[in-house]
């Protein structure tokens, strides 16, 4: 599904990263990218580099924080975790997303006039 791959919205990626961190706890950039790919069952392939731009944005807004730590294989990696402000943002965004997707869903269910 190439259209979806390229058409991924910026805000959507932010939301996915926040949710991933909320659900999984502290993760490094590679982990986040893997996790999003797994959860979307490989249907949504994120350009792994863009994850880092998204992380910079979220860090600037202080919705996530970062510390250097050691990975499972004892490799030095930067671990990101969601902050209190991030959680608040996440719930607001999730609410918004549900509403929008509900509307879209209803729109798509409209019978096509023939």
């Amino acid at each position: 599904m190439p259209e979806i791959k390229s058409g991924i919205l910026q805000g959507t990626l932010d939301l996915m990263v926040l949710k991933t961190l909320d659900a999984m706890g502290p993760l490094h950039g590679y982990g986040i990218a893997r996790r999003i790919e797994q959860l979307s069952e490989e249907a949504l392939q994120v350009n792994q580099g863009t994850i880092y731009l998204c992380l910079v944005r979220l860090l600037q807004k202080r919705w996530i924080s970062a510390v250097w730590g050691a990975s499972e294989n004892n490799r030095k990696a930067k671990f990101y975790s969601i902050t209190k402000a991030g959680r608040k943002q996440l719930s607001a965004e999730a609410e918004n997303w549900k509403r929008v997707s509900g509307v879209i869903g209803r729109m798509l269910q409209l019978a096509t006039r023939s």
Binding site: Y30, R34, Y52, N73, R75, K78
Partner: protein, 932 residues
């Protein structure tokens, strides 16, 4: 909002530490790649394969770094800094061209800044007081802004809206102490070039010091404190108050070497002992442009000048200008209404007095207080004209730089084409080039400020050296924020004016042509030469306008210097004689003057001696009311006339012919102000005005102080119930250079009445001056004297000085403009011809004659010049019509200025075309063909 601020703060932090951020991100990417590769190895890839595939999956590392940098920091600032770095590098690489461009623009900007600084220092200068915008000057709608002391006191005591009303009188100069050193004689070159000369004080004469009279509350109203000591008390302005004075710090430093003992000491001014109570701070000049030596209470100054004056009670003579401070929150309008109500009450209480506004004629109006007075429309228009003229110089400078940059962008075309080819946007290139030109203009602006500052400092020092040292003009010429803003604005305007066109052209080259190095062959030639033609034409027309305007001004100023004044001032020197009022009685002074005049008249070097109350072209213009039909002098309809009190020898000495009737005899001369029954001589214009179409001889008339004539305290005013016209004198220009005096009454007085003594030399003036000086010093008998040679006496008068300054200034402006334009035309025309070297070579190879090819080049280069000249003529005609009120004795289409300016431009354009054309036609055809 808070989130935004946080984000911005984070960006700034990241921007400030780019290295650390880069390192951090590189480590992160490295671990990312490693983990990705490990995963891939786990899925069965060889380490090499895994590594390769991981890299591909992550995407281009350098793009990613660039993107990361942009999203974490301040990309715009980054870009601007990059542009700046690049601009500096490019400018440094082409140092020669940069220097030429900077100097060209700097000259243009410098001239503009200098003129604006001077304008700012004069017209826009507020008085020196805290919150100067709340200080207003109270003037009248008829332009007269002097008040008598009792009127001032009435306004001061009855106004409730002002927080204070202060008065400032006239400047004066007094003799100080008993005897001192004469002023130094070394004068500056600039003063010499401008023709300034200064009176020589005769030996034994005491030193002079200047003063200004102020009301007792002056410093309090201005809100200014003396640097040392105290200010005046309100009661010290009274008629009986003990004489006190403040001195300026300038005077204290110059004359007393900062002697701390000056405070409380007594100094003698015109023979009166005055106590010094304070010292005002350095360069403080209050509501006046000149820093005085002494600040004196108004009444004291008037008593020192003439002991008989009763300034405090004399409602009929004017003595001061009035300034008020509006309290915060008070509108000027309401204060104006209150003051006009007070004026109406004054008018009602004293209907017959001359001073004060008459209801229907004038009302009180407020203008912002400024030491130079409020500029009127004419002065403002003049300043604007000068600013426009130097603006044209800057425009020409911009055109020069534009053509320089165009020429350079041709050589840079390849570099730019490559950058465009590898994907830089046109906007990006445009921004880059404009940044470069902005840096250029700002460099020029900074240089221009320095240039203007230095040249103004130099002028100021020269002018200061030229003035007698009791006159300290405090011109504040240091560039303030307004000047700097103006220069910044000019620099930015210059960037756009000189850089936009080259930048637009450079950023849109024909890519393939430029890359193939064909930028300058025939393909793009037509368009380019059209643009250059335009530039040459525009430059020529602007320069022609400037040159013609400057030429007109120069010529009109020269005319003014040669104008026939109606009298012959060559060989006439003047002698001002005075004596300390306190030590000599008026009768003694009169006797000594008479003796002196007799002794001078008997000198063999002197042809004739006379005295008069007024110096032609000098100040002291006084008017009286004249009644030719027996009506009261206070009638609203009476005429008024200027007068001059002269000794019978005046007409012979000055060379003014008596056209009809006869001269005064010695017996007819009067000693005082009463001229009842005396004869009078009138000027031709006066006769025509008062007795049109009649024979003026034998006509009777009355005169005296009238309702509208200003009188100054301590001065008498001549009056007569009946006088008879015995002669008609030739018209002279003694008030203004621009025309003959509209009225002039000559009344006969004896030499002892006072006034200036005029001496006509027999033969060499220098010898006569020496003889007069010797005679005066040999038998001075308590008199003090100042001797002025004819140049000092007449050609130093304001009208001549203004004309000379005008001539010098406009010549400088014209010369600068011509220089700029010649260089520019030479550059553009020369460039076009050089570019055509190849074509000329082909023509020559095909057998064209040398003069033929030359003719072709010259016709083509002169076409835009001719078009520019035509346009310039039209522009100049419009400009000179606008200037016509400043031109006298000259048609606004003066052929010398018009044709002269056009000729000079033609010659420089021809030369600019000829020199390179000659070079081109002398080139061997083969060399020319190999040119590219």
């Amino acid at each position: 909002m808070l989130t935004r601020i946080r984000a911005l703060a984070a960006r700034v932090r990241a921007f400030a530490t780019p290295r650390a951020c880069d390192r951090d991100f590189d480590q992160e990417l490295e671990s990312h790649l490693a983990m990705l590769a490990e995963d891939k190895v786990g899925r069965g890839m060889t380490p090499e394969q895994a590594h390769r595939s991981a890299r591909i999956e992550l995407g281009g590392l350098s793009q990613l770094r660039e993107a990361h940098r942009e999203s974490r920091g301040l990309p715009l600032v980054d870009a601007v800094l990059n542009d700046l770095r690049y601009a500096l590098r490019a400018l440094r690489k082409d140092a020669g061209l940069t220097a030429v461009a900077v100097m060209t623009l700097a000259t243009g900007i410098g001239v503009n800044t200098a003129v604006f600084t001077a304008y700012n220092a004069v017209a826009l200068r507020p008085i020196q007081a805290p919150e100067p915008h709340r200080m207003v000057q109270i003037t009248r709608s008829n332009g007269d802004d002097f008040y008598s002391y009792p009127d001032y006191a009435y306004y001061r005591d009855n106004s409730k809206t002002f927080s204070g009303l202060a008065a400032m009188g006239f400047g004066h100069s007094f003799s100080m102490g008993e005897a001192g050193s004469p002023p130094p004689t070394d004068r500056s070159i600039v003063a010499g070039a401008a023709g300034f000369r200064f009176p020589r004080a005769l030996a034994g004469s005491p030193e002079r010091a200047s003063s200004i009279g102020i009301s007792g509350n002056y410093f309090r109203v201005l809100g200014v404190h003396p640097a040392i000591g105290r200010m005046f008390l309100p009661e010290e302005d009274g008629a009986k108050a003990a004489p006190v004075a403040l001195v300026s710090q300038n005077f204290w430093e110059r004359r007393f070497a900062r002697d701390p003992g000056l405070l409380g000491r007594h100094l003698t001014l015109n023979g009166v002992r005055v106590t010094i109570v304070g010292i005002t701070s350095r360069d403080f000049s209050g509501t006046w442009p000149i820093v005085p030596d002494f600040w004196l209470p108004l009444s004291l100054q008037s008593r020192l000048a003439s002991p008989a004056a009763d300034l405090i009670r004399d409602r009929n003579s004017v003595c001061c200008r009035v300034y008020g401070r509006l309290p915060a929150g008070t509108e000027a309008v309401s204060a104006e209404a209150e003051m006009n109500a007070l004026a109406a009450r004054l008018e009602f209480a004293f209907p017959a007095r001359q001073d004060g506004p008459t209801r229907e004629r004038s009302r009180l109006v407020f203008v912002p207080a400024s030491p130079f007075g409020h500029p009127d429309a004419r002065a403002t228009a003049f300043a604007m004209a000068i600013l426009a003229a130097v603006g044209l110089i800057l425009l020409i400078a911009c055109a020069n730089v534009a053509s320089l940059l165009l020429a350079r962008s041709a050589t840079r075309q390849r570099e730019i084409a490559i950058r465009l080819a590898i994907g830089a946007g046109r906007g990006r290139i445009l921004r880059q080039l404009l940044t470069e030109y902005a840096v250029l203009s700002l460099l020029a602006g900074a240089t221009g400020v320095l240039l203007s500052w230095w040249s103004l400092r130099f002028l100021m020092v020269q002018i200061a050296a030229a003035l007698p040292n009791y006159l300290t003009v405090a011109l504040h010429v240091a560039p303030d924020y307004r000047v700097l803003m103006y220069t910044l604005f000019l620099s930015m305007a210059a960037t756009v004016a000189s850089g936009l066109l080259p930048a637009l052209r450079a950023s849109s080259p024909n890519l393939t042509a430029a890359l193939k190095d064909e930028g300058s062959t025939s393909g793009g030639f037509l368009r380019k030469s059209l643009l250059r033609d335009w530039m040459v034409g525009a430059q020529v027309s602007v320069c022609l306008v400037l040159l013609i305007a400057a030429g007109l001004l120069t010529r009109t100023s020269q005319r003014a210097l040669q104008i026939d004044l109606g009298f012959d001032y060559r060989n006439i020197s003047m002698l001002h004689v005075s004596s300390p009022a306190a030590t000599t009685s008026p009768a003694q002074l009169a006797a000594r003057r008479t003796q002196l005049a007799q002794r001078l008249a008997s000198l063999p070097e002197i042809q004739s001696v006379a005295a008069a109350s007024r110096v032609p072209l000098g100040g002291g213009i006084r008017a009286i009311a004249v009644s030719i039909n027996g009506a009261s002098l206070y009638d609203p309809g009476t005429q008024s006339a200027l007068y001059n009190l002269v000794t019978p020898g005046y007409f012979a000495t000055m060379g003014i012919p008596i056209l009809r009737g006869r001269n005064f005899t010695a017996q007819e001369s009067r000693g005082g102000d009463n001229f009842d029954g005396s004869p009078a001589i009138v000027s031709e214009a006066t006769a025509k005005l008062f007795w049109p179409g009649q024979d003026p001889l034998g006509k009777q008339f009355a005169f005296g102080p009238g309702r509208n004539n200003l009188r100054f305290s301590g001065e008498g005013s001549p009056h007569s119930v009946s006088s008879v016209v015995i002669g008609v004198a030739k018209d002279v220009r003694s008030v203004s250079l621009k025309g003959v005096d509209q009225t002039c009454l000559y009344l006969p007085v004896t030499v002892d009445r006072g006034g200036t003594i005029f001496l006509r030399a027999r033969g060499n003036e220098g010898k006569a001056l020496a003889a007069v000086q010797h005679e005066f010093e040999a038998s001075r008998n308590g008199l003090e004297g100042e001797l002025l040679d004819s140049r000092t006496a007449f050609t130093n008068q304001a009208g001549f000085v203004a004309s000379r300054m005008g001539a010098i200034g406009s010549a400088i402006i014209g010369a600068l403009g011509l220089l700029m334009a010649s260089v520019g035309i030479y550059g553009t025309v020369g460039f076009v011809v050089t570019q055509r070297t190849q074509e000329i070579g082909i023509r020559m190879a095909l057998g064209a004659q040398r003069w033929n090819a030359m003719g072709l080049v010259l016709t083509e280069t002169m076409r835009p010049v001719a078009i520019g000249l035509t346009a310039g003529f039209v522009g100049a005609a419009i400009v000179s019509r606008l200037m016509s009120s400043y031109l006298f004795g000259l048609s606004s289409l003066d052929s010398v200025a018009f044709l002269g300016a056009a000729g000079v431009l033609m010659v420089s354009a021809l030369l600019a075309g000829y020199l390179p054309a000659r070079r081109a036609t002398w080139v061997e055809p083969m060399t020319a063909l190999r040119h590219e």
